[in-house]
């Protein structure tokens, strides 16, 4: 039987219990239970359409849940407005970047930096992602896919998050950019930020995540430490169709 919860019996930094959510056309999440410690990175895998992105969007407040609980450091976030969830310390790097095309890189950084103050500033973010500094005056719509992804990551960092939700951050990007994303996730983990990463690129997921969880039909069905997941190709094949 798969292990579905982390080892800790005490209150985890993120506690999701019985989360039900979906859209007009139907329920997608059928009672997700999930826990995550501060400084832990959880890789969330699963076939297309099982509800990974819906879970991310629901945690960020962009899809309202119909039942369940989301506790972040003991504070209930389920049903809160997305801006309140963001100010509570939850940052989203959405699938497809979703940058503001007509705003410059500098405007992106300034907007995000005003959201929630902390250790991440425009200066520290540009030290980590220097390419954005070179492109400060460019409109986001003029950036390459990799630069847009860096900008989406910078936007999340500047909100000084305690929990970062990454939805397929490597999608369509060159290996060098994927390596940079892995490096940023490592930095976040070292700073005690909890990270939930949805990823199709198993190499990236294995490289950054301490644990791997798998979703099927709107629920978490499997969760193990990454090395254990890698040692068990039969289970990976059964759940994901890849070995």
């Amino acid at each position: 039987m798969s292990e579905l919860a982390s080892e800790s019996s005490a209150q985890n930094f993120l506690e999701v219990r019985g989360l039900v959510s979906g859209y007009d056309r139907g329920v997608v999440l059928h009672g997700v239970d999930l826990s995550l410690d501060a400084g832990a990175v959880l890789g969330l895998l699963g076939r297309n359409g099982v509800g990974k992105s819906t879970l991310i969007m629901t945690l960020a407040g962009l899809v309202p849940p119909s039942a369940g609980s989301v506790l972040l450091d003991g504070a209930e976030l389920a049903g809160q407005r997305p801006d309140r969830i963001a100010r509570a310390g939850v940052a989203l790097v959405p699938q497809g970047r979703r940058v503001w095309a007509t705003l410059t890189v500098a405007e992106h950084l300034a907007l995000s930096a005003r959201s929630r103050r902390g250790t991440w500033t425009v200066g520290t973010v540009l030290d980590l992602l220097p390419r954005l500094g070179e492109r400060r005056k460019h409109l986001a719509g003029q950036l390459s896919g990799g630069e847009q992804q860096m900008l989406a990551v910078a936007r999340a960092l500047l909100t000084n998050p305690r929990l970062v939700l990454l939805d397929e951050p490597s999608e369509g990007l060159a290996p060098a950019v994927v390596d940079q994303i892995a490096s940023v996730v490592g930095t976040l983990r070292d700073e005690g930020v909890a990270v939930l990463i949805v990823e199709q690129d198993l190499h990236l997921a294995f490289a950054v995540a301490g644990e791997i969880a798998v979703m099927e039909k709107g629920v978490l069905v499997h969760r193990v430490p990454t090395p254990e997941f890698r040692r068990d190709p039969d289970t990976a094949y059964r759940l994901l169709g890849v070995a």
């Binding site: 962009l62 801006d83 970047r97 940058v99 095309a101 007509t102 300034a110 959201s115 986001a140 936007r155």
Partner: protein, 330 residues
């Protein structure tokens, strides 16, 4: 799939961004202001009055551009606040004082209050629902003006508005009225421009490009939209008070759908989001409606419709977009 959010405004035009004046742009601005100020010295009173009407409508269009082009809220009922401001300024001039800046302040305040009373519901809707709600508010205000005879004059309009006074002296000469309107227009335009260029304005453009993403980094976007809706209502009311000062008559069409549609037309033709483009669009609308219209047998509106179709096909970013394309920043 990479998703870059490109804002859309009526007519399919992508919005452009007001930029800080640099180099020759600043020089052009100074030259335009000097020319506008010198107009009464060279043009006949009728031409001066036409230009004054353009300035009044331009300030109204700029306030709408702040909603449509900068924030992405295409309103079909913005004339409600323009008309409310015009009636308020006219009523105050008749019943209280015509001494500036009282009518101006009354117009701006009533425009802002009307927007505050109606905006909280409208800014929580989007797309077609926002269009329909603003249209309904515009029609409601029109009906209110039609039935509230004692204040608005009803179908006869508000007549007998005295000339604006400055330090006790009435502005009866077309040239003096033009300078008065020009001064208030510049003040109103500068206010809107400063708001659009401020960090608040950047947040509005973020809302226009992708509102959920703004919420996801912690911005209470409904509050931002409400604030700009009230501010734009106030500026529209200010423009309305200029109408009362210039025409000294406020009629039902000034608060009606056609006025709102003409302003939206001006914004789209000029290039939504640039602010100065809305002024160009306003000039075209007033020239076609008031100067060319009579010689076209009253078919000025038809000509405006044709111009709109041409602009949508040939200049999808309006007049302001031409400059951006030339600079290679589109």
């Amino acid at each position: 799939m990479t998703a870059v959010e490109a804002p859309a405004v009526p007519g399919g035009a992508a919005a452009v961004t007001p930029r800080a004046p640099r180099g020759w742009t600043g020089l052009v601005t100074v030259v335009v202001v000097v020319v506008l100020a010198a107009v009464p010295l060279f043009l006949a009173p009728f031409a001066t009055t036409t230009l004054t009407r353009i300035l009044v409508f331009a300030l109204f269009a700029v306030s709408l551009d702040l909603l449509v082009g900068v924030t992405g809220l295409p309103s079909l009922g913005h004339a409600a606040y323009f008309g409310a401001g015009a009636y308020a300024a006219g009523w105050v001039s008749i019943n209280v004082t015509a001494e500036a800046p009282v009518p101006l302040l009354a117009g701006a305040a009533v425009g802002a209050v009307a927007a505050a009373l109606t905006g909280w519901i409208t800014v929580r809707s989007a797309g077609v629902f926002f269009l329909m709600l603003t249209l309904a508010i515009g029609e409601t205000m029109h009906q209110l003006a039609n039935t509230w005879d004692s204040v608005t004059g009803g179908a006869n309009g508000l007549i007998g508005i005295p000339s604006v006074r400055i330090a006790g002296a009435p502005l009866t000469n077309a040239g003096f009225v033009h300078w008065y309107v020009l001064a208030v227009f510049l003040l109103g335009f500068a206010l809107v421009w400063l708001v659009a260029r401020s960090p608040f304005g950047t947040a509005l453009r973020g809302i226009r490009d992708n509102e959920p993403r703004m919420r996801a980094i912690g911005y209470p976007t409904a509050l931002y939209k409400y604030a700009v809706f009230v501010f734009a209502g106030g500026v529209a009311g200010l423009a309305g008070s200029l109408l009362a000062a210039q025409a000294r008559f406020v009629a039902l069409p000034d608060i009606g759908f056609l006025t709102a549609a003409f302003a939206l037309l001006a914004v789209v033709i000029g290039g939504a989001g640039s602010l100065w483009g809305a002024c160009l669009g306003a000039a075209l609308v007033i020239l076609v409606r008031d100067a060319l219209g009579p010689s076209l047998g009253g078919h000025g509106t038809l000509l405006l419709g044709a111009v709109f179709v041409l602009v949508v096909y040939l200049l999808p970013r309006g007049a302001a977009g031409v400059r951006l394309r030339r600079r290679g920043t589109s």
